[in-house]
């Protein structure tokens, strides 16, 4: 029975994430120790606000017996008589349904007269009288009385039944369109006044409504956005498995990102997959083609079209203009640029804001549409406003999706290249290497004037790190910083700083890359003030002649390509170079979802054992990984709410390390590890509880928490060659 909902909700198998938010609202509803306060859920359409409110209603209806949950979804009516009759009817039905534990009463189509009879039978005379007053007001057409009676019904029922209530008001912004009199103001002010003594959760798509409400009543606004990346990926994968469809993890990551983690978009895309090319998520092109087809002529496109139909021609032009701007644009500027009159612009802005497509702030507009809506606007603008052909537009859109998609896996490749350079340079220890490896132009050619027999004495490097921490807002090639000493000179005068710029793409390092590198190098140099600076640029494919010329003009700098780097790597660190003579080991990922059942952590242990054995970890390290995985899992379960929910694990096996990500559906469990326990000393016994984090820290090389939307992810890292061993070796 508990699974039965009075209001339609998605099957549990199609609902993902949001556990923290649901828990938060539920707790706010049943916590009677605080004065009444509200939660305003603000988020774009289709993001799942209605589902959150209805699921909360279901939990409150079946999960406890002292707070009456009342769910009301505002309709698109502008008539106060329709609203007031509907509201009175819904509130009374839900009160009676809760009191009798009979959801059928709330589902039934009972007239107000019939409800009055039921109330009289129950002895709720004041409520019965309220219905009589409402019917009288309706008969004489008195809108103020109708509204007053409607907004009193919660108070009356609460008093008569001696109950507490929790209101769940869906699409509360629609109240702004309900008018007491023709062209009069909406009833938001009256609604806000009625909410003051009550606890509630309300959903809205627009910032203006949430700001207006929070100014009137005690409330907290919570943004509801797309599911965080890992939850969106998990949702896509689980839905695909449900349809027995194949997929590639990288393509799923791209899809999750493109769909902004929006559950509605995700369900629609997977549904389209199930009806069409089932293996579309095996390749990026497959996804790009399906996605573009769906938002142009598919169900998703129809839904978007329905939503955006209210924008009109002018609205589309405004949106497109805003999409092309990175920052806010003044309303007056935009009116002038687009040739839209001030009055028309005001109307357009109101509509776009009500659809949560733009944000209005101090006379400026910013586009807040998600990438899917932007793609759809781009499509209809191209085919409608600009008169381009459908196929042509689709072709360009598919190209854009492909380009964006490749940048997702590209990030890990770039990080791997950077890590490789950091490892190589960290191994420098006064070796002598051929200078030609540091004087490369393009295509493996060595710069003119390089003596083929001359050697370069490398410094003794003490450490290397990414420069990103020192140049947060910089873009361009990643730079690695290495600090060390000239061989045998371990004093201030021997200090040397290597600044290494890297380009991990199939194009040559060009003059723009060089300019960017030189400028940033100068800034970084000032930061560290070393005795000597060495600049080294490494490009996979080498350098353009103009880039080399520019570099020469600025002073000495080393230049290498990927082949030269590989040669240096062999010379400085032949033992560590496990990849020589064969293909580079690939990064592999394994995912696992554990149900909340007894000893489920042992399933993760088996997975961890298999993966770490195959990676070449020794028995001791495998034991440490297993114990840490157990610890992480039991804590993730323990802090996943009540009842416990699933725990998600992701194992990432790199050539150098195993990284294990452990998360539950959005609950913080870093708090579980707040204080380190004491071990007690000789003969005294250690503290009994709270050893989880200490154990993991003692057994793994890195343990950290990463903040996610609405929760925390625990990250465990074990290196194949522990850092200490590297340093020694």
């Amino acid at each position: 029975m508990r699974n039965k909902s009075i209001f339609t909700v998605l099957p549990d198998g199609l609902f993902f994430g949001r556990a923290a938010l649901l828990e938060r609202i539920y707790k706010a509803a049943v916590d009677l120790s605080h004065p009444p306060c509200g939660i305003i859920l603000k988020g774009p359409r289709w993001i799942g606000k209605t589902e959150i409110l209805r699921r909360t209603h279901r939990e409150l209806f079946w999960g406890q017996g002292f707070v009456v949950p009342l769910y009301y979804q505002f309709s698109e009516t502008s008539r106060v008589d329709e609203f007031s009759g509907d509201f009175i009817s819904e509130v009374i039905k839900q009160f009676l349904a809760f009191k009798r534990r009979d959801p059928e009463i709330a589902r039934g189509q009972l007239t107000l007269t019939k409800l009055r009879g039921l109330l009289t039978d129950e002895g709720f005379m004041e409520a019965a009288d309220l219905i009589t007053a409402h019917l009288d007001a309706r008969a004489v057409g008195e809108p103020a009385a109708l509204l007053r009676n409607a907004l009193r019904v919660v108070e009356v029922m609460t008093r008569e039944t001696n109950s507490q209530v929790f209101l769940l008001l869906d699409d509360i912004g629609r109240a702004a369109a309900i008018n007491l009199y023709k062209d009069g103001p909406g009833i938001m002010r009256e609604i806000a006044a009625a909410l003051k003594p009550l606890s509630f959760a309300a959903s809205t798509g627009t910032g203006a409504i949430s700001e207006g409400l929070s100014g009137e009543v005690c409330s907290e606004t919570m943004e509801v956005s797309g599911l965080p990346g890992h939850e969106a990926r998990a949702m896509i994968e689980e839905l695909l498995r449900g349809y027995s469809l194949n997929f590639e993890t990288e393509v799923v990551s791209t899809a999750a990102q493109r769909l902004s983690g929006n559950p509605f978009y995700i369900r629609e895309i997977v549904r389209a997959l199930s009806c069409g090319p089932g293996d579309a998520l095996k390749t990026l092109k497959g996804f790009a083609t399906l996605y573009v087809r769906e938002i142009t002529t598919g169900t998703l496109g129809s839904a978007l079209g329905g939503q955006l139909s209210q924008c009109g021609h002018k609205g589309l032009r405004v949106l497109r203009a805003l999409m092309m701007q990175r920052g806010p644009v003044g309303i007056d500027d935009l009116s002038e640029r687009l040739g839209i009159s001030t009055a028309d612009m005001e109307r357009t802005v109101l509509v776009l804001e009500s659809l949560n497509l733009i944000r209005v702030n101090l006379g400026s507009l910013t586009c807040t549409s998600d990438p899917v809506v932007r793609d759809y606007i781009e499509y209809i603008s191209n085919t409608g406003l600009l008169g381009k052909g459908i196929e042509e537009t689709r072709t360009w859109m598919i190209r854009d999706v492909l380009k964006a998609g490749y940048s997702v896996p590209g990030r890990s490749v770039r990080q791997r290249f950077r890590q490789e350079i950091m490892d190589v340079i960290r191994a420098f220890d006064g070796e002598e290497v051929p200078e030609r490896l540091f004087r490369v132009s393009a295509g493996g050619e060595v710069l003119e004037g390089t003596d083929k027999d001359s050697v370069l004495r490398l410094p003794t490097v003490t450490g290397s790190f990414a420069a990103s921490a020192f140049e947060k807002y910089e873009s361009g090639l990643p730079i690695v910083i290495a600090h060390g000493f000239a061989p045998g000179r371990f004093d201030a005068s021997g200090e040397v700083l290597w600044l290494v710029g890297l380009k991990d793409s199939q194009t040559l390092i060009n003059i723009g890359d060089v300019e960017n590198f030189l400028r940033r190098s100068r800034i970084l140099q000032r930061e560290f003030c070393p005795a000597r600076v060495i600049r080294w640029l490494v490009g996979q494919k080498g350098f353009s002649p103009e880039a080399l010329q520019r570099l020469r003009e600025d002073g000495p700098a080393y230049t290498s390509d990927a082949a030269a780097l590989a040669a240096v790597k062999k010379l400085v660190n032949p033992v560590k170079d496990k990849t020589s003579g064969g293909p580079e080991p690939l990064r592999r990922e394994f995912e696992m979802v554990l149900p909340p059942s007894r000893n489920a952590e042992l399933v993760a242990v088996r997975g961890a054992t298999e993966i770490s054995s195959e990676m070449g970890f020794d028995e001791d390290s495998i034991g440490r990984i297993k114990t840490s995985v157990v610890e992480a899992c039991i804590n993730a379960f323990e802090h996943s709410g009540s009842p416990p929910s699933k725990v998600h694990l992701r194992f990432v096996a790199d050539p150098e390390s195993l990284t294990i990500y452990v998360s539950n559906p959005g609950f913080d469990f870093d708090g579980a590890f707040a204080a380190a326990p004491s071990s007690g000393g000789v003969d005294a016994l250690p503290q009994k509880r709270g050893w989880g984090l200490e154990l993991m820290r003692g057994l793994m090389d890195e343990v950290r928490f990463e903040s996610l939307e609405g929760g925390t992810r625990l990250v465990l890292v074990k290196y194949l060659n522990a850092k200490g061993e590297d340093d020694d070796g």
Binding site: N599, L602, G623, S679, V682, A684, L685, E694
Partner: protein
Amino acid sequence: MTDKEARTFTDYGDVIVIYARDYMNDIEGEKLEDICESFLKERGCSIILDFSSTDIINSIGISILTGIIEKVRGFGTKVALSGVHGVVYDVLKIVGLTESVPIYESEEAALKAYGVKERVIAV
């Protein structure tokens, strides 16, 4: 399954050796605790907890193990651990139990230290 894995405990009269299984968690810990408690109440004998079959111990297992040691000491009798190896030893070291309770390499070494020569009952 080895002989030790099949057994729950071995009764040496004044000393009881209790064998933990491969995964020392809440269930296993409570089981050990129950056996300990019954022997302590019945005889007030010394306890050796043997971990030679144990590959994993979690923080709840640690918590219960600490409780068992506390309880045995409360009865004024001796307690020791034996056969602790690999990551289980690492865990005990991290929490400081290697400093506060005698740990012997094997059951035999622990029995020798307790002056036990022959087995009485095997269960």
